[in-house]
């Protein structure tokens, strides 16, 4: 079984998209991928974050638990598992724009409403993507994404 590197990138304010990203990350581990977990930084400033207690509290914790994605993370990855809230995709869209060169042609999994942006950035998005808030479905999707990446890698090596 060839080793697969899965990069989980998410944007979350109050923890819901983080939970979905973690659930999908667990699926990636179940499929025996190596994983890295990264949170996108808020575009909003500290003053805006302070106005929302749940956001503020979660940001403090998440900033300890995760670093922001680096270029070498995208280069390392065979598959990207991406999650963002349905009503807040700007951070993810900016990430996809900035990481385009490193993620071109790689397998992608989209938990959210930005599939077309992910495709435009060059990711081969595993379908059907999961817009659901169901953790079990996210885990299954993470697993499927790694299996797809593994098959693609094996095909490329064999072809």
């Amino acid at each position: 079984m060839s080793p697969i590197n899965a990069l989980v990138v998410f944007y979350s304010r109050r923890g819901k998209s983080e939970s979905m990203a973690l659930a999908a990350g667990v699926g990636a581990i179940q499929a025996r991928a190596n994983i890295r977990l990264r949170r996108l930084a808020d575009l909003a400033g500290p003053e805006a974050i302070k106005t929302d207690a749940a956001w503020s509290e979660n940001v403090e914790r998440m900033n300890k638990d995760y670093i922001a994605p680096r270029e070498i993370d995208a280069q390392w990855a065979d598959v990207l598992i991406l999650a963002a809230p349905p009503d807040r995709t700007e951070e993810m869209e900016r990430y996809l724009d900035s990481a385009k060169a490193a993620i071109q042609g790689k397998t992608g999994a989209v938990l959210g409403t930005f599939t077309s942006k992910a495709v435009a950035a060059g990711l081969a998005v595993v379908q059907p993507a999961e817009a659901t808030a169901d953790a079990a479905a996210a885990t299954a999707y993470g697993r499927r994404a790694v299996e797809t990446a593994r098959a693609a890698k094996a095909g490329a090596a064999g072809g």
Binding site: L22, V26, I29, Q30, L37, K64
Partner: protein, 236 residues
């Protein structure tokens, strides 16, 4: 046969936020001669600065237990478990099919000193599981207190692990002795967690350890000015 593994021979990294010693190969420390002992795969001796720790990361198919010597370690994981682990508590996690967790020093002012032990499981793909419980410190005073093992009904409350291995803790006062039989065909790893102990005639100080194979018993004694604290891991 008894083989001594001295503290200073371990892999050592002081990264500012963590001062860590690796008894066995781990991360960027690789030593072919010390890749583990029987099912014992990792024994890390970590001092983590206030507020610092290990960000979210994944594990699969590993039995991981943590023994805090000083301070508190905050644990969060993808199964929703959120706890602070302190001395005289045992925490064990079966990573099984997959777990994501983070571990941070729970204090903003005091360091945390801990031992983290990884044991290769006998079975893969088990459901992830987290256990944590406290015990009275007197339970390890001059006796071996079982921490983890494969028994569904252990003789005293202990965490279950998916491997034929049992880990015990003990705090031995100077001059106090214990004899722990080692069954034929079994092996033992004794790690001096703090202070000074003697194991089958070998004097150990903090961070030293012995690997025992083909021995009938571990003869343990506290020594030095204040004795010592140890972990003994009995392995198939």
């Amino acid at each position: 046969m008894i083989t001594v593994r001295r503290s200073a021979e371990r892999g050592h990294f002081d990264r500012g936020w963590i001062n860590t010693y690796h008894t066995f190969s781990f991360g960027s420390y690789s030593d072919e001669a010390h890749n583990g002992f029987r099912a014992l795969r990792v024994l890390n001796d970590d001092r983590i600065a206030p507020g610092k720790g290990f960000g979210a990361h994944g594990h699969r198919d590993m039995e991981i237990f943590t023994y805090v010597l000083e301070g508190g370690l905050a644990h969060n994981d993808s199964t929703g478990e959120r706890h602070v682990l302190r001395p005289n508590e045992i925490q064990a996690m079966s990573a099984g099919t997959g777990v994501i967790h983070s571990e941070f020093n729970a204090s903003q002012t005091e360091p945390v000193h801990l031992l983290q032990i990884w044991i290769q499981p006998a079975a893969e793909d088990v459901p992830p599981r987290y256990q944590q419980f406290a015990y009275d410190p007197s339970e390890k005073q001059n006796r071996l207190r079982l921490l983890v093992g494969p028994d569904r009904n252990p003789p005293e409350p202990a965490a279950f692990i998916h491997q034929d291995a049992r880990a015990y803790a003990s705090v031995l006062a100077p001059g106090k002795t214990l004899e722990q039989p080692i069954a034929p065909g079994r092996h033992a790893w004794v790690h001096c967690a703090s202070g000074n102990i003697i194991v089958n005639g070998y004097t150990l100080q903090e961070g030293d350890a012995v690997a025992m194979s083909g021995e009938r018993a571990a003869m343990l004694a506290g020594c030095g000015p204040s004795g010592g604290e140890l972990l003994l891991i009995d392995l198939a």
